[in-house]
């Protein structure tokens, strides 16, 4: 309990100090609860998510960093490894491959990497997974781009 608080506080200071170091990630701690964080990440370039800004919600367990944080997308996203309704993410480092050496910042980086390299063989979003598995990359990309436009881009005008 104490350890997780101390560690999160350190991470918070680190984030404040290096705010400009990684322009793709903006990690914010809840004002009243250090165990709740949100992040805004930019869709990686040369992917259907380019230009979109996606919001993530972090829920950090008391055993952190020995147990992984729970992360989900608040912004709707069409991606094989993200649940279309709940935003739940299927990523090994958030489950059994978690290592206490990861930080919230590095988790964000891993999620950006996942957006660029989907794993259609362990899909949470079957429609999306099936498109990729059947080789319909164009179909997948246009769907993903459409949802990026609809949900992850600031409305013009």
């Amino acid at each position: 309990m104490q350890a997780s608080r101390a560690r999160l506080f350190k991470e918070y200071k680190e984030v404040q100090r290096e705010k400009t170091a990684d322009p793709d990630i903006q990690l914010v701690c809840d004002d009243s609860n250090i165990f709740k964080w949100t992040a805004l990440i930019k869709g990686p370039s040369e992917t259907p998510y380019e230009g979109g800004v996606f919001q993530l919600a972090f829920s950090v367990p008391e055993q952190y960093p020995l147990q992984p944080p729970q992360v989900r997308f608040l912004t709707k996203i069409f991606h094989p490894n993200v649940h279309f309704k709940t935003g739940e993410i299927c990523l090994d480092i958030l489950k059994n491959a978690w290592s206490p050496a990861w930080t919230l910042q590095s988790v964000c980086r891993a999620i950006i990497a996942l957006m660029a390299h989907p794993e259609p063989d362990s899909p949470l979003n079957c429609d999306s997974g099936n498109l990729l598995r059947s080789g319909d990359v164009r179909g997948y990309q246009s769907m993903a781009r459409m949802y990026t436009r609809l949900a992850a881009m600031p409305k013009k005008g």
């Binding site: 350890a3 101390a6 560690r7 147990q67 206490p100 990861w102």
Partner: protein, 575 residues
């Protein structure tokens, strides 16, 4: 000669020895042995668990020249299958073997970070003095309190047998000595748990070792040497099939036994009987059995109905028809009813015989008592010609043993010659020939078992010496005959019946003349010797003699059943 005594010849009993040794004191069956190579199954008690692992650990340590904890990590990864482990070693090499199991032996303790007074722990992101951080064999260094919490969480998650390093993608398993030391400082309970999980891994991850299925659990495990298809008796008296952990059931195969137990338990046949023999009354829905007469049946509630279709009718009728009622389903229904009836009678036939023999051996203890009474009367007569009465007990054991075989043989026959399992395997003719062959043997066995039973009931204590000797001869002859018949029947089942099947899923435990094998105790010695390392546990290895003479467990040396794994094996084995 008792077989057990020959395998573990000289025990050195200490004063405070455990009562577990009484197993050997049982008066044993005195039958000709099938094999003289001795007991191949062993009881592993809480006390001998550590020693049981020692041999496997040693083999790995000697072969690969590694420390004990690495040997254990390798063995846990390979589920205590030493041969498989060596197979991987020979085929793929040491580096692969170690990497796969998460063993790092390249120790880099003198790396550069030692030059500083403090290190930055990447987990809590604190700078900690070098004494408060620990570097694992894989080279990753974190602070002790993070390590401790990591171990705590992992053990709680049930991963105590393979706790990995905290670094990302580091497959290396944490050094058990470090886990033990760090945990016991803050969570002594957890350290104890960890210790137990490591020890019990030998039972739980090992296909040669299984917990005794007794309830309440006796705390023992059984280890078999080669074949897991055998029947064993634990030192607590529980007899079971090592393969399926159910009661010993040969000559039934495990699957047959499972089906049979289920069939007997859920009373499916009673339900079956009701469906075959009764029809529900259309008014009160009670099952009604037709006890004769025409097809107009009347229920005790007063309602009349047609037996053929079950529909309510009036009472006006002749032998062939009911007034105002006609139904034409006669043929079709009769056919299914016939079939169900035939199956039922078949099951009843086998079940009755199975039950009769099972019930007879429930009376074992009574008969045994009566016989003991007769023996003591006879012994008081101080006869000069008959002094030894062990033949009575032997005959009795033979009787009980063969009754068991007989009763299970009926369950076996039910499945072997029924449609349920092997309908596709044999033609009708083949089946008939085989059934006759088997039933001839079964009948012979049954006849002789009954004869033996009758002879044993004779009031021999009232007879003259000459008559007693006659009875003795009869019992001896019948025992040998029955033993041979059992053996032949098992062979017939193994070779001619099950052996000829295409699907080899049915196999049975081989017949043992002397009954279900009693697992022998694993012999270990734990003694308190004055030593500056404190409590020590020593396993005696009498290598010079080559035979397994080991001391019995001494209670006080165990420290309340808690082992000290801290001692390196080299130390333990030095003696």
């Amino acid at each position: 000669m008792d077989d057990y005594a020959s395998s573990d010849d000289d025990y050195n009993y200490s004063d405070d020895q455990d009562s577990v040794g009484d197993v050997f004191a049982n008066d044993d069956l005195d039958f000709p042995l099938v094999s003289s190579k001795g007991s191949t199954t062993q009881v592993i008690t809480k006390e001998s668990l550590l020693a049981a692992q020692r041999e496997d650990l040693r083999r790995v340590m000697d072969m690969l020249s590694v420390r004990e904890q690495h040997a254990r990590t390798l063995l846990i990864y390979h589920r205590w299958d030493v041969d498989r482990l060596f197979g991987v070693y020979v085929e793929k090499g040491k580096a692969f073997l170690f990497a796969e199991a998460g063993v790092s032996v390249d120790e880099c303790r003198d790396s550069s970070s030692l030059a500083y007074d403090s290190v930055m722990c990447e987990i809590c992101m604190d700078d900690v003095p070098i004494e408060e951080a620990t570097r694992m064999d894989c080279g990753h260094c974190f602070c002790n309190s993070c390590w401790t919490e990591h171990f705590f969480v992992k053990i709680n998650e049930g991963q105590s047998k393979r706790i990995r390093c905290m670094a990302h993608k580091c497959n290396s398993i944490c050094d058990e000595a470090v886990v033990r030391t760090l945990l016991s400082r803050k969570y002594p309970d957890m350290a104890e748990k960890y210790e137990r999980f490591l020890l019990e891994s030998y039972i739980e991850d090992n296909k040669r070792v299984k917990w005794c299925p007794s309830t309440p659990h006796c705390g023992n495990a059984i280890r078999v040497e080669e074949d897991d298809l055998c029947e064993v008796e634990c030192s607590c008296g529980e007899q079971f099939c090592f393969n399926c952990l159910e009661e010993a059931h040969s000559p039934c195969s495990c699957l047959m036994w499972e089906l049979w137990v289920k069939k007997c338990r859920d009373e499916s046949e009673t339900v079956n009987w009701i469906t075959v023999h009764t029809k529900p009354c259309p008014k009160c829905h009670k099952p009604v059995e037709k006890n004769g007469g025409c097809n107009l049946v009347s229920c005790i509630c007063g309602q009349a109905f047609c037996w053929l279709c079950g529909g309510a009718t009036g009472r006006e009728h002749t032998w062939s028809s009911i007034a105002g009622h006609s139904c034409g389903r006669y043929k079709e229904q009769e056919k299914t009813a016939e079939r169900a009836k035939r199956d039922l009678y078949r099951y009843m036939h086998y079940h009755n015989r199975y039950k009769a023999h099972t019930d007879s051996f429930k009376l074992e203890s009574k008969l045994k008592e009566a016989i003991q009474g007769k023996i003591s009367i006879s012994e008081e007569k101080n006869s000069t010609t008959v002094t030894d009465y062990s033949w009575v007990n032997n005959g009795l054991s033979r009787l009980f043993r063969s009754r068991r075989v007989l009763s299970y043989s009926y369950a076996f026959a039910f499945y072997m010659f029924g449609d349920e399992l092997f309908k596709e395997e044999m033609s009708e003719d083949q089946r008939e020939i085989k059934q006759n062959l088997f039933e001839d043997q079964q009948q012979q066995l049954e006849g002789n078992v009954e004869r033996l039973s009758k002879v044993l009931e004779e009031p021999f204590e009232t007879f003259k010496d000459k008559k007693v000797m006659e009875i003795r001869m009869q019992i001896l002859n019948l025992s040998t005959l029955i033993d041979n018949l059992c053996k032949t029947m098992y062979e017939c089942i193994e070779n001619d019946l099950l052996g000829s099947l295409n699907h080899g899923i049915h196999s049975i435990a081989p017949y043992k003349s002397r009954g279900i094998e009693k697992a022998s105790e694993l012999q270990v010695s734990w003694s308190n010797k004055a030593n500056n390392t404190g409590v020590t546990a020593e396993v005696e290895r009498p290598e010079e003699s080559g035979c397994s003479s080991r001391k019995r467990a001494r209670k006080e040396g165990l420290g309340g059943g808690f082992f000290d794994l801290n001692l390196p094996a080299e130390f333990l084995d030095r003696n």
